[in-house]
């Protein structure tokens, strides 16, 4: 009885008498597979057609919608592996060495020599507008130089260790690029201010900003996108912590201040601000 059952099961997979595999003859399989092949090719074709039509409607230089980027994000460098926590020991070189190296690598495109090659000198304190006139596109667009030297003591030129060894670390702050964004109405440039979170106000000590006042100069805006402005140099602000309390966790928040950038949503901790924790151990 069980043998018949076995045979029955095997027969439903391959029936040698009727030459059926899983209940279908070879020609039946052929037809159905052919149908599905043709069907899926047709569907793929239709999908590609609709995608092509959609892509044709997109502008090459500017996305259609930017409402989600109304408040640009901010990030810091060096970016540690941890979630925005910079912890090191002044005595131990290897604990801060990687920060210095990261900053070196990050700032190397900003070397003055490199910048002179790539970009133009621009008139400061006004938007560097390069408009298209109607259908005639004014491409490729030029970018302004952002020289490493602007960052002064945090540029890594004078102090190779960016202040880490001496317990006065430099943190670089970057504002996310948004095409067409013109921050700061009426000639008032956006600037960064850093402060401690509530409990740590005593610990933060004095701060020094490079460039002075922590401004992003207006000449770097608007950004025209990576296709039009190939060599765009994103402006940076560096903040140096002159006498931060050592051996303590200090929670710091840096914000962008501009009169036409709305405060970011409560939920997004990186929209228009960036929070990080700094801990310098001396023993």
């Amino acid at each position: 009885m069980s043998k018949d059952g076995d045979n029955g099961w095997k027969e439903s997979v391959w029936n040698p008498r009727t030459r059926e595999f899983l209940g279908r003859t070879a020609s039946s399989w052929g037809l159905i597979l052919l149908f599905y092949l043709v069907f899926y090719i047709f569907l793929a074709g239709m999908f590609c057609l609709t995608m092509y039509v959609m892509l044709q409607t997109l502008d090459d230089h500017k996305p259609k919608w930017q409402d989600r980027l109304s408040t640009p994000g901010m990030v810091i460098r060096p970016k540690a592996d941890e979630y925005y926590e910079i912890t090191y020991n002044t005595q131990k070189t290897e604990s801060w060495d990687m920060y210095a190296q990261t900053l070196d690598k990050f700032l190397s495109p900003y070397n003055n020599t490199a910048q002179v090659e790539k970009n133009n000198e621009c008139k400061p304190d006004e938007y560097f507008k390069q408009e298209d006139s109607g259908d005639v596109k004014n491409n490729p667009k030029r970018s302004c130089q952002f020289n490493r030297t602007i960052l002064d003591e945090c540029s890594g030129i004078t102090d190779r260790y960016y202040g880490y060894q001496g317990g006065q670390p430099c943190i670089i702050i970057k504002l996310n690029r948004v095409i067409g964004m013109l921050p700061g109405k009426d000639g008032q440039a956006p600037f960064v201010t850093c402060g401690a979170k509530k409990e740590d106000t005593e610990k933060i000590g004095e701060l020094q900003y490079f460039p002075p006042n922590g401004t992003f100069n207006l000449m770097y805006y608007p950004y025209y996108g990576k296709k039009a402005q190939v060599n765009y140099s994103q402006p940076l602000v560096a903040v140096k912590f002159l006498n931060i309390t050592t051996n303590e966790d200090v929670n710091i928040e840096c914000r962008i201040n501009a009169n036409n950038i709305p405060t970011g949503s409560e939920r997004d901790k990186w929209a228009g601000r960036v929070s990080f924790k700094l801990r310098i151990n001396t023993i």
Binding site: F47, L58, R68, Y83, R177, W270
Partner: protein
């Protein structure tokens, strides 16, 4: 069903009714009206016709014969029917009677011809009675008489004519008793045949005056031990009644047969009556003959007739007793039109079992206590509501509240419709599985940002798809529902490969593409072109990456791009809603075009509006972004899936068109679920 006067006791029974392939129907009360009227009488060796007109305007028969007096007396006395109270003003034929159909007919007949039955009964008081039972097939009662100067008891008996004849040694002719001889017996048989051949129910009547010496006044008649003789009686006559078929039955039987359902008559009545009624309602159709008919026509003995020539047959209960299971199966298999007559309740059960052995789904209709074993055994038992006994109503799965056999056709149609609509609903619901699962697959395989999230999947399955899926249960029948063969329960499954092939392999894929198109549109219009999305997943989902670069060079924080991702989920969800519009419209029909079927299903139309409104609510209602992470869509994004929705509709209409034009072709074999 209730609106069509069918009380369904358990709901699965309706679906079973839809797969019925055989109906075993009782005759009296089910196929016929059970409103007997006495039509003929046989006494004094002649058939007399009774007046069945309402106002006695027809010709009356000769009532002068003393045999008639005796016959009338037996009919009046051996009878438990009584007129209901306070009806003296109504004409006799319209009066309500408490009692069974045959006895009511007799009561009315005698009341019409002889005057007050009540008076007759009072003059001849009943002292004992043995009521009718199916095994003996007679009933008798013993009365006091005042006939002549004999104060003897009169035993009156009525029942199945052959049983009455067996117990009779004498016969009354012109008021005088004569011994029974072969000539008389033959005359009896001829009369019986003739009357029965007219489809009438024939009852035999006999009596005997119990001799006073053996049965003195005050004799204690014992009906259990039967301490009196019930043989050697005097046969008086026959009375025959017609029980006309119900008006709607021939049509219903015709519909059942064209729906591929075999209708078998199973009755306790005489074979000739049964055959006549069967011919009358269409169970035995014109031109179909039994072996006896063929023998009679060709003038050859029955044994010489090739059994395979006869498609119809009439089987007597006594013959049924001797049949083995194989012989029974043989009969059931080889004859399309069968009548079983003079069957006992056990035999009704055996017949049902025989049909079920051959793989049929059997429905049994009946009204009497003797039908209840068969009703219980059947796959679906149908009892009569008005004239049915309580036992049969208990045993049945469905009760016909107006005793209308035609309701069974309604039941079959409803059952088939339920099965069809279930298929449609399942096909609709399963289709959306593909656009729900492929986003995750592609998320894993191609490392793109997740196109459709869990909450949105639930919004489809538990939110927008609910009403349209349920609305398909209210779909009207497609035109061919009663022209198809009954469903083969072993092979015709609810969900078969063809359904899966259509739902998952064809329509589902088109839907998925519609959703993906909307996904790519939303991302591309926000700055992430499709080519740059492949492989981006790890960076995209990295919380610490807050300056992720898009195709234009802009930088996005984690939350900002997640909002775009959730907007994609909302757009994908809305696209599924849009393609499901087309899906519900094509799932409405399996064979007919939507233009033929019409959009009369109001619940479906409501469902379409409701799901769209719900989708709009989920997208645009303030607070949804926090609660469900579903974001408002730009109006153009609603239209992304429209071409795919349109394609689904056109594709399926063409498929169904090919299906209709090429019945039995490859398209039907591979895609007709």
């Amino acid at each position: 069903m209730a609106r069509k006067n069918c009380l369904v006791k358990n709901l699965e029974a309706v679906e079973t009714l839809g797969s019925t392939s055989t109906i075993c129907s009782d005759k009296t009360g089910t196929l016929t009206q059970n409103r007997m009227t006495v039509a003929h009488m046989w006494f004094d060796n002649t058939i007399h016709e009774a007046d069945t007109t309402e106002d006695q305007s027809g010709s009356s028969f000769d009532k002068s014969s003393a045999t008639w007096v005796s016959l009338a007396r037996i009919a009046a006395l051996c009878n438990r029917a009584v007129f209901k109270a306070a009806q003296d003003t109504l004409p006799i034929l319209k009066r309500g009677v408490a009692g069974d159909a045959s006895e009511s007919a007799l009561l009315k007949c005698i009341e019409l011809s002889c005057g007050s039955v009540k008076a007759m009964r009072e003059k001849n008081k009943k002292v004992a009675e043995i009521p009718f039972n199916s095994t003996n097939k007679y009933q008798l009662s013993i009365h006091e008489t005042e006939e002549g100067n004999e104060n003897s008891y009169l035993l009156v008996m009525k029942g199945a004519p052959e049983r009455i004849l067996d117990r009779s040694s004498h016969i009354m002719v012109q008021g005088k008793e004569q011994p029974m001889d072969e000539e008389m017996k033959e005359a009896f048989q001829n009369a019986y045949q003739e009357l029965g051949g007219l489809g009438e129910r024939v009852l035999g009547f006999c009596h005997v005056f119990l001799p006073e010496d053996k049965y003195p006044k005050g004799f204690a008649f014992d009906t259990d031990e039967v301490n009196f003789e019930t043989d050697n009686l005097c046969f008086v006559g026959l009375m025959s009644m017609i029980d006309p078929p119900r008006a709607a039955v021939p049509d219903a039987v015709g519909k059942c047969r064209s729906a591929g359902i075999k209708v078998i008559m199973v009755t306790g009545d005489h074979p000739i009556t049964a055959k006549a009624i069967a011919k009358g309602v269409g169970i035995i159709s014109e031109g179909n003959e039994t072996v006896e008919d063929i023998a009679a026509r060709l003038n050859i003995p029955v044994s010489q007739v090739n059994p395979r020539d006869a498609k119809a047959c009439v089987i007597h209960g006594t013959d049924l007793k001797d049949l083995s299971q194989d012989q029974m199966d043989d009969i059931l298999r080889n004859h399309t039109e069968i009548v079983f007559a003079r069957t006992s309740p056990q035999q009704k059960l055996i017949i049902v079992e025989g049909c079920q052995r051959l793989g049929a789904i059997v429905a049994v209709t009946g009204d009497g206590v003797n039908d209840s074993p068969a009703l219980k055994k059947a796959d679906i038992g149908v009892a009569m509501g008005i004239s049915g006994s309580d036992v049969s109503k208990q045993a049945a799965d469905m009760i016909l509240l107006d005793d209308n056999f035609a309701s069974i056709v309604t039941g079959v149609e409803e059952g088939r419709l339920i099965f069809d609509n279930l298929k449609k609903s399942i096909a609709y619901t399963l289709t959306s599985n593909i656009p729900e699962i492929t986003p995750f697959l592609f998320f894993i395989l191609f490392n793109i940002p997740l196109p459709l999230g869990t909450i949105t999947i639930l919004c489809i399955d538990l939110g927008t798809d609910m009403v349209p899926a349920i609305s398909l249960a209210y779909e009207a029948a497609e035109s061919d529902i009663m022209k198809r063969q009954p469903r083969n329960p072993l092979r015709d499954k609810l969900v078969n490969e063809r359904l899966i092939s259509i739902a998952y392999g064809q329509i589902g894929m088109i839907q998925a593409l519609g959703g993906f198109f909307a996904y790519f549109v939303v991302l591309a219009e926000n700055g992430f072109r499709p080519y740059d999305l492949v492989g981006i997943r790890l960076n995209w989902d990295d919380r610490s990456n807050n300056d992720l670069e898009d195709s234009y060079g802009q930088q996005w924080t984690y939350e900002q791009r997640k909002i775009v991702e959730f907007t994609c989920h909302t757009a994908f969800f809305v696209s599924i809603v849009v393609v499901q519009w087309a899906d519900v419209i094509i799932c409405k029909t399996r064979r007919n075009s939507v233009f033929q079927q019409g959009m009369r299903n109001k619940i479906l139309i409501f469902g379409l509006f409701e799901e769209t409104a719900l989708a709009a609510l989920l997208s645009y209602c303030p607070g949804m972004d926090v609660a469900l992470r579903m974001y408002p869509l730009k109006p153009s994004w609603w239209f992304c899936a429209f071409p795919y929705s349109f394609l689904i509709f056109v594709y399926d209409e063409i498929r169904k068109l090919i299906l209709r034009r090429n019945p039995g072709g490859w398209v039907e074999r591979e895609t007709y679920y």
